[in-house]
Symmetry: D2
């Protein structure tokens, strides 16, 4: 995530990196690298701080930077469920970002799931007597670059597996907490899987709906909700694959009306690049809005 962010910021025409710190990725930071202690003393020198620190470690650093009067985008999960930060799903948070002191950048899976579900939830279309099923599959970069045996090529290639089955993954709470205000209580079943690819998340989302809806009806809900959105692509009569989104700050969505069921359901296929719109790209998008710059500056959507 940090590498991707440094890469994006390096290409951003209006950004200068003042300093950066990392325990394991010095070669990425180049001449920007400083020790963490040095960084801690320099918060007030900069306009904005990005934290890609590990979950659990990030919050106190974010707090100190904020206390020094610096705005912060936190890419960890520490503040995503907290009211101390604006939850930075850009398309939702846009109005409040220009005044935000601290932004909690959303997780990759929640970005895909929430941008799929919210338009239907807000339109009162979800039938919450039946469960919403989110079976998401991610490439390995979602797990970072630490050298774990289960992420070795020899383990991942030619394999596919579910993990965090049964709503035990951290992102489950992130999805449901931000969905709840729009749906009321609803059962969500979220199951992440590990794909033998480097980047990208594909997620079928199965939505029980309160009235019969054809594909075009579902597409219309999304098209109206996302009219003019530069980073959301609603496909018509097709569903996306990873290829449509990797290396882009984009969510691609495709709708299908489920045949042969007694009560109406839609399936929406959502795709994002977990490192871009699912992490570093959305952080840049948030920065652009916070600083009232053009929203997609430095991004390929």
């Amino acid at each position: 995530m940090g590498r991707e962010l440094v890469g994006l910021l390096g290409e951003h025409p209006d950004v200068g990196i003042a300093f950066a710190t990392s325990e394991s990725e010095h070669e990425v930071l180049g001449h920007h690298a400083v020790p963490l202690e040095t960084a801690e003393g320099r918060w007030s020198d900069v306009e904005l701080v990005f934290s890609c620190l590990p979950h659990g470690v990030s919050a106190p650093v974010v707090e100190r930077a904020r206390d020094a009067g610096t705005r912060v985008i936190d890419l960890s999960s520490d503040l995503r469920l907290s009211d101390r930060a604006v939850y930075g799903l850009t398309e939702v948070a846009r109005p409040v970002l220009p005044d935000a002191a601290v932004v909690a950048n959303p997780g990759c899976y929640p970005t895909a799931a929430l941008l799929t579900l919210l338009p239907f939830a807000r339109a009162g279309l979800l039938d919450t007597t039946r469960p919403i099923i989110v079976d998401a599959a991610s490439g390995v970069s979602g797990a970072g670059r630490s050298a774990k045996r289960e992420l070795l090529f020899a383990e991942v290639a030619e394999d596919f597996r579910a993990y965090g089955v049964g709503n035990v993954h951290r992102h489950f709470a992130e999805i449901t907490q931000h969905l709840l205000p729009h749906t009321g209580p609803a059962d969500v079943v979220f199951t992440p899987h590990l794909l033998p690819v480097r980047r990208g998340i594909l997620s079928p989302v199965h939505l029980p709906v309160r009235q019969p809806m054809e594909r075009e009806d579902g597409e219309r809900v999304l098209l109206e909700a996302y009219a003019g959105e530069p980073c959301i692509r609603v496909m018509r009569g097709a569903v996306p694959s990873l290829r449509d989104v990797v290396y882009r700050n984009r969510v691609a969505l495709g709708v299908v009306s489920v045949r042969h069921v007694s009560r109406p359901m839609l399936t929406v296929i959502a795709a994002i690049d977990n490192l871009v719109k699912g992490a570093a790209g959305q952080a840049v998008q948030n920065m652009n809005v916070m600083l009232q710059w053009p929203e997609t500056r430095g991004l390929v959507c």
Copy 2:
């Protein structure tokens, strides 16, 4: 499928291949190869015929072989929904296989889905007021060896996509027809995906259940249903990945009780090798039972 079957039969200690026919795979058949017309004249020379012909082409050939008095295992989908053949899900059909004239070998996805669902259905545990979700992902060998652009390495590698979304895949009807007698009407949503691996199917199956069930309760349902089954492995406290099943005539099943839902649900992860237990291996297993040989002869389970 045909290649895999020829490979398995070649290793089977009690089988001799009398003749074989193929339009595109002569090199696999070796000295067994004969033209289809020759084969058509020789049905009565053999004890059993396997048909791996394409869907739509297979049924008339199967019929002629049967009319010649020869028993047939049809690996196409032509007879899977028909009462002219025994549906050869071995663990279910075992009692009637020894007398079967024609066996319709199940599809790969239905084998995984039905062996997951049937024990819960028969025990009356499924809550059919909520939908059953089957999000299955298969390696490319499920699509055969024909040279289609969408199966090129350059298209499949680093990608993941859903296809047949919305219950339009042929296997949907195969799953529901064989489930219906045990559940009564039930909504099933079946979504196949294409994985960048060569072999294997992994399928999360989300089951609404009529009463609260812990993981152990779900495992017990499967363990009791499949006690003594040589080709079904019920994992305890774990879920399978492709690695647990490839090159084996095995279904591996792992159960999780879903947390944080208001009405009880289980998620079962099912894994099979689509070419073995999902096709050629199950055909050999069926042959063994039909001929009253030891059921797993020639198979690695």
Copy 3:
């Protein structure tokens, strides 16, 4: 190649695509698409024509465009061994490109091999009493997008194979013809291999040299030959991998002095993206020089 070129030209700030034609890739061409016959009548409307036609088909079309007074860059191999075209290895051909009517864009393997070998050849350092060995490995995109069985995911994944072994690949003649003037007669052994990756060529080139040379000596030959070259990266004390070059119009070169041999040898590892510096990117680089624009405009090197 054509897809990649359309992509690069679409991003080029100074290029407008007037029209384009393809039998199989209409969706890539979009509103630029015209039938070939229409294109044939419009050569004189444009400043430059790129031909990505198949080998054997390209030459007559190139000729007609040139006869219409239009400059042409031919990405096929038809004219690479002919004196009717300038051989467009940009770093070598730069002085004559501004006046060239027809440029034969080099093949991917020859681009890597020649840019490795020429500096040593010109410096008189190659020992031609011993053979030069070029064992190059390419990703599948080198073979185009036609649906051939040997390019299916199921065939390529987890495999690696040599093809065109023994100097029978078309690129052998391209390498030797353009090397000969600088070395005199020399034995070259060129063996291409197919890698299970989508893009990129990595090529160890083993060079017998006439005098003992340390790594630094070899690096110096390349650094001097390529001083100021924007698209050639000579690594110091390291060798490149595909990761260093994919999606870039770059050749990366790393030198090693071979230990434990009685007569001196260097091994140079060369890496390029076969579709960029090995094809479409070099074509754009050539166009820029032909039109006396900044050489890397529209390119990432």
Copy 4:
């Protein structure tokens, strides 16, 4: 290597595993697992000990087992260059294996290279005034299962790289030492590469020969040298790919006569499974010969 060996021994009809020890792979050893100290006290209980200990650690353990009067096959590189052990390239060492106390099992790359080169060397056909080039590429399992960043899926997939360039890899000395007695002094250039596959080594070997040789001439040298060999497959008019050898205890060899060179050369493509004939399989083959059992018992060649 150890996992593969335990797997092969578990399937071997005449072998019982008395005990096994490992720091990191307890789950593979199952009920055979004992602490190393326990194993050290039990050498004399068993007929044969296999050591898969790391290089540097293995030799003293091997020595203690041998001192306890137990025969040993050492899969580390510790004794491969030493006269304290028989170098266990089975096809060469067969006559002396039945009396060997300690066998040094060859490395994966040397197995492929030596079985390619020795027949030509012994026949006096190699022209040692020109270098022999061995450009070998291996799947990741050659590097073991330790969790190193450079072996992560995210690093290996879609990449290809050379390592140990310039004759600095440990296997260089192993190749040359065992070749020297048959060739006299000769320059060998050995360059290993890392492939994005799990298993298998493919190695083009370029041989300068002393007289013009057609493909058939080269094939004849190998066919005569390996007549009756169960684990060596000399292809006629074709070259192998990884697919021909993975999961088999087999070396596959294919010969091509190089065109368009002034002095005669052959290219031989050699393929093996690095974990089978390149490690554990050859160890089992050696065991079979040491114990005067049928040579391929327990092996698929």
